[in-house]
Structures are given as C-alpha cells and as structure tokens.
C-alpha cells in the first residue's frame, strides 16, 4: 500500500516551543518524510516565522492564531481551533491528504470538525491527560479539558500513546477499548549529542573543578518531582556536589526560597531556560542526571540522558519504568528526598557501577531512533487506511469548493 499523505495538527511546532509537543511533531514528521510520507503540519503562527515553508521536507502551514481578542486561555484555544479549521479546510481542498493526525486536546475541535467535513480518518496521539497532569480533576476548567480529551479519543479511529503507562491511563480514565490503542514511544536523534563541543568549558561554566555535577532538566512543576530533589540536597552535602536545575515553571520562586531555607544557595543553581546545545553539553558532562518525576507519561529527558551518557537516578514513575531498568540502565529510587539522596550517592560513589549503567543505557537508547518510531507510526497509518478504504464511510468523491474569498 502506498504511504498516505498526512496532515498533522499541533499547537506548537519549532520555532514555537511550549513543551515536548513541538520537538516530537518535528522529529516524527521529519522521519516520516524520509520514509516517503508527504507530511503537512498546521500549527499556530510565531513572530518571525514564515506563514508557509518547507522544513526538512515537511510542509509547514502557520495559521494566524492571535487575530481575535479572547478573554482567557480556554477561549483562545477555542478561537485558535476556529482559525485552524478555517485555513486547513482550504489546505485539505487543495491537497491530496488521506489522514489527519492530531496531537493532544488543544487541537481536538479543529481535528474533529475537519474529520467530518472531509470524511478523513483521524488519528490522535495523546501525550498526557488532564487527570494525570493535575493528579485528578478538581474544578470545571479541568473537567472541561478532560471532556475535550474524551471527545478526541471517542472520535479518533485509533489512538497512539507513548507508553504502556499512558495507554493504561487512557483505557481506565476514558473507558477506551484496548484494541484501539497503539503504543509508539517517543524517539531521539543521537546526532546532536555527537557534535564536538568544548565540554570542559561547559563544565567550568556551571561547576567548580572539584565539584561533582548533578543535573535536573525539566519543567519546574509539581508533577516532575523537582521539590524532592531540592529536599535531598542537604543529605548529600559531604559529596561536594553542584546541583544544576534547568527549566522554568510555576514552582521556581518556591524552589528558590526553599534552597535558601536549606542553606544550599552555593550548591544549587537554578539556571532557568537554557538553549538546547548547552543542555546537551550538560548531559554529556553530568556525573549523574536525576529524573524524580511523580507523573511521567513517557520521559524524553531519560532518552536524552541515556544518549548523552549521563548515569541516571530516577523515580521510575510512569513511562520511565518502561524505558529504564533498575540496576541495568538506571538507579531507581522512591519519590522521596531520602531515597533520591541514596540513589545519587550510589551512582557518585561507585564509578564502576555508574560506568556500567551509562554504557548499557547508551546501547539501549539506540533502539529509540526516530526512524524506528516513524516505522511504527506508519504501521498504524497503514492499518487505518486499510480499514478506511474497506469501509463505507469514505465519500465516493471529495467535493472541491467553489470559493471566492
């Protein structure tokens, strides 16, 4: 069967990067293009970025998403979907596209409207759920987002999740049949981690020569468990460690205050946002990378640490427990400060052990290259197209509009 032409809908795509969706959609699209798939991406506009451009073979359509004043984020999302639908209707009319691939609830309304108007199969990748992100749903705002997720899941032909953990969450939270869910992990491109860099200079920038460097990379939010790492720092004061905490988030001010209260100002450095190259350099020079997540649908940071060769200490929560294996590719600790301190000490004080973890993790990371992920995704596409072509929902002809704008 010929590879389908796909339209991806995502509210973020480089250079607009809000979280993990942008790099995911970019890397997956790029890998699909290499396999002969025609990929269009419809996304929000971004200052300085072209309204249409071809990036590594991906046809990127950036839609004006800020043209209408909106009272709040939820309404902005609704209007962004209106704008996406309006412009993508024209894109779908002008191009031979066979399948719509939506990423998360943020594009649910547009994806579902387009599915029905063009009678094209819809596939949804659910990267995380509102229930999981918030530890339950506690107010109408969160219930609305949860309901949007449920709607997208109901309307999708098939659902892709990045881990068995996420699949189980969706199956139980949204009463989805297991047979509709495919597990396709996130991928990693190892090449940027192999680029020659002045690694000693990176190390000097963040730590004294005699200090060990322990790294955290991620959003500073409750679900990432970063507070447990901060609370663990006093337990490790004898090891002369510089803790580098990279990222932004609503917990930042609270973490800064807590670091002061613990008297760890000289040992903990909250860097804020750093560029990707510097972060890759930090992974390469780190003596340990701590991933203390409480909720983690997948854990792309683990793939980055594995690829760069940073020994990992992790809670093993969610998808992390599927990527990593205790005592083989990482040290698993419980989600509390004492246990995390134990894990860090174990890695830092046993050079042979940490070297073995590092080597095995690097070997394991090779199986997550984007080419393999694209092949799995293509398998899901092919299955859907086969079912779609055999069914009777497909229109006998797609009408071309006679629109004068």
């Amino acid at each position: 069967m010929q590879a389908p032409n796909v339209l991806m809908l995502s509210w973020e795509f480089p250079p607009r990067i809000v979280g993990g969706l942008a790099p995911h959609v970019y890397e997956l699209s790029r890998a699909l293009v290499k396999k002969g798939v025609e990929v269009h991406v419809a996304t929000c506009d971004f200052p300085g970025a072209e309204a249409f451009e071809v990036v590594d073979g991906i046809k990127v359509h950036r839609i004006d998403s800020y043209g209408y004043p909106t009272p709040d984020f939820a309404t902005w999302i609704s209007m962004m979907n209106v704008n996406l639908k309006r412009e993508v209707s024209t894109i779908l009319s002008d191009n031979d596209i066979n399948l719509i691939h939506a990423h998360d609830w943020l594009v649910a309304s547009a994806s579902i409207g387009l599915k029905h108007m063009f009678r094209l199969p819809l596939i949804a990748t659910i990267h995380s759920t509102e229930y999981g992100r918030r530890g339950g749903v506690h107010n109408d705002y969160q219930r609305m987002i949860g309901s949007m997720e449920a709607w997208l899941i109901r309307e999708a032909w098939r659902i892709i999740c990045c881990s068995r953990f996420m699949a189980n969450e969706i199956i139980s939270a949204y009463k989805v049949s297991d047979y509709r869910v495919d597990i396709v992990p996130n991928g990693i491109d190892p090449k940027p981690f192999e680029v020659p860099m002045d690694l000693p200079a990176i190390r000097r920038r963040f730590a004294e020569p005699n200090e060990r460097l322990v790294l955290y990379v991620g959003r500073l939010v409750q679900e990432k468990g970063v507070s447990n790492l901060i609370e663990a720092t006093p337990f490790l004061s004898d090891l002369n460690i510089k803790f580098i905490v990279v990222g932004e988030g609503y917990l930042k001010e609270e973490l800064i205050r807590r670091v002061k209260e613990l008297g760890q100002e000289k040992k903990v450095y909250l860097t804020g946002f750093l560029d990707s190259e510097t972060i890759r350099g930090l992974f390469r020079v780190a003596d340990a990378c701590v991933i203390p997540s409480i909720y983690e649908p997948f854990g792309i940071v683990a793939l980055e640490a594995m690829t760069a060769g940073a020994p990992i200490v992790t809670s093993g929560s969610g998808g992390l427990g599927e990527i990593l294996e205790h005592e083989k590719t990482a040290t698993f600790a419980a989600s509390n400060p004492g246990s995390i301190a134990w894990g860090v000490r174990r890695v830092l004080t046993n050079p042979q052990y940490s070297e073995a973890l590092r080597m095995e993790a690097q070997r394991e990371a090779a199986s997550y290259e984007w080419g393999a992920i694209a092949t799995s995704t293509l398998g899901t596409y092919t299955r859907i197209m086969s079912e779609y072509n055999e069914g009777n929902w497909k229109p006998s002809r797609i009408k071309k509009p006679k629109v004068n704008n």
Binding site: G67, Y68, P69, T70, P71, D72, A74, T75, S78, M79, N81, V82, K85, R86, S89, T90, L92, S93, S109, A110, I112, G113, L114, H116, M117, F118, R119, D140, Y141, R143, M144, S147, M148, W151, P395, K399, K400, P401, K402, V403, N404, N405
Partner: protein
C-alpha cells in the same frame, strides 16, 4: 432541488430570544412556497432528529463537551458538532443544492469552514450586533464576539438584514459593501418568497 440549511442556536422548543420565532416563521413561509428546509440547531436532548413534515427536518446538536467555562467555549465547541451534522446532510443528500443561512454569530465559524470545505453558499442573517447588545463594551468577551461577527460579514456571500437601519450600521461599522447586504423585512407580505429568491440567486453563484 434547492434546500436551505438554517443554522440557529435557538429553535422551538429552545427559545432564548426572538430568533427562535423568526426561524420558525421562516420555515413556515418557505414550506408554503413548497421548499424543503433543514434546521440545524441545538438542544440538550437524546433526540437528534425530527421530521416535522415532508418539507421540514430538524437536526438537534448537543455539545460534545461538558462542562464549559464560558458561553464562548460552549459555542465554539458546538460548532464542530454543527459541522458534523451539516456534512452528513451534504454527503447523504448529494442531489440537493444546499444554501447555508446562518442566524447571527453563534455558528459563523461552522459556516466559514463549511463554505471552504464543501463550497456551500453562505448567507449570514444579522438579527442584532454585539455593539447593540453590549454598547461600548471593550471587554474581551464582547471583542471576541465582534471578531466572530466580522469574520461572518467578510466571509459570507451575502448578508440578510431586516431593516435599512441595520444595513446602514453594517456598511458604516464593518466596511461591508452595500450591494452585499439585502434587506428583507419579516413583516411584509411574501417575505419568505423574497428570501427564497435571495437563496436562489446566491445558489446560482451570482453573488458568490
């Protein structure tokens, strides 16, 4: 065969204001002229379809998302369901010539997308404007509704209004050309036939 598709957020028994009565009268007028009409509207009910006569079908949309945090998230989400219902009608009744007549701003986003997706002629009937309902309001909610009204006025093929005063308001306030706006009062005789003539004209593409 010309089949108008009337999209309205109210239709009896759901009555919010005068629009429900207007749309009901319009369907009666069009039926009197032997024209089959489909009304696509909304109501939280288990019934999704009602055939009131050989010439009148009602499609009830219910919001696929619950709860909502504002009237805008409710309305804009409902638009996707309206798109689904209208598209199903289009795919099921390929022989009919459909014209969209959208009542006020609520289903303008669906009208715009359906026009682009299916090439449907799109008429916007303006009963009132946000500027009249919330005079002088600079709040974000009102501004957003005004933005949707503007989108409808620009993207529609024709604008129907009931009074010359409304026509003047739109031409002055929204930079819409006078000849795109047609006044048909619903008080005069044969007003349904006059609207039907407008539908036919738009369907023939004279104004598209």
């Amino acid at each position: 065969m010309l089949t108008p598709l009337l999209l309205s957020w109210e239709y009896p028994p759901r009555i919010v204001g005068d629009m429900a009565y207007y749309v009901e009268s319009l369907t009666e007028e069009l039926n009197r002229a032997k024209t089959s009409v489909s009304v696509v509207t909304c109501r939280d009910s288990t019934g999704k379809y009602e055939r009131r006569s050989d010439l009148l079908e009602i499609y009830w949309a219910s919001n696929p998302v619950d709860p909502h945090v504002s009237v805008l998230t409710w309305c804009l989400t409902l638009n996707a369901e309206i798109e689904r219902i209208v598209s199903d009608i289009i795919y099921d009744k390929k022989d009919a010539t459909h014209v969209l007549d959208i009542q006020d701003w609520h289903f303008v986003p669906a009208g715009v997308s359906l026009k682009r997706a299916h090439g449907l002629p799109f008429i916007l009937t303006v009963h009132s404007l946000e500027e009249q309902r919330s005079p002088g309001s600079s709040g974000a909610l009102s501004s957003c509704i005004r933005g949707i009204e503007t989108m409808g006025l620009i993207e529609s093929d024709l604008v129907l209004v009931k009074t010359d005063q409304m026509k003047a308001l739109i031409t002055e306030g929204y930079e819409v050309q006078k000849d795109k706006i047609v006044v048909v009062s619903n008080n005069g005789p044969n007003w349904g036939r006059r609207i039907l003539a407008v539908y036919r004209e738009v369907a023939r593409g004279r104004r598209a």
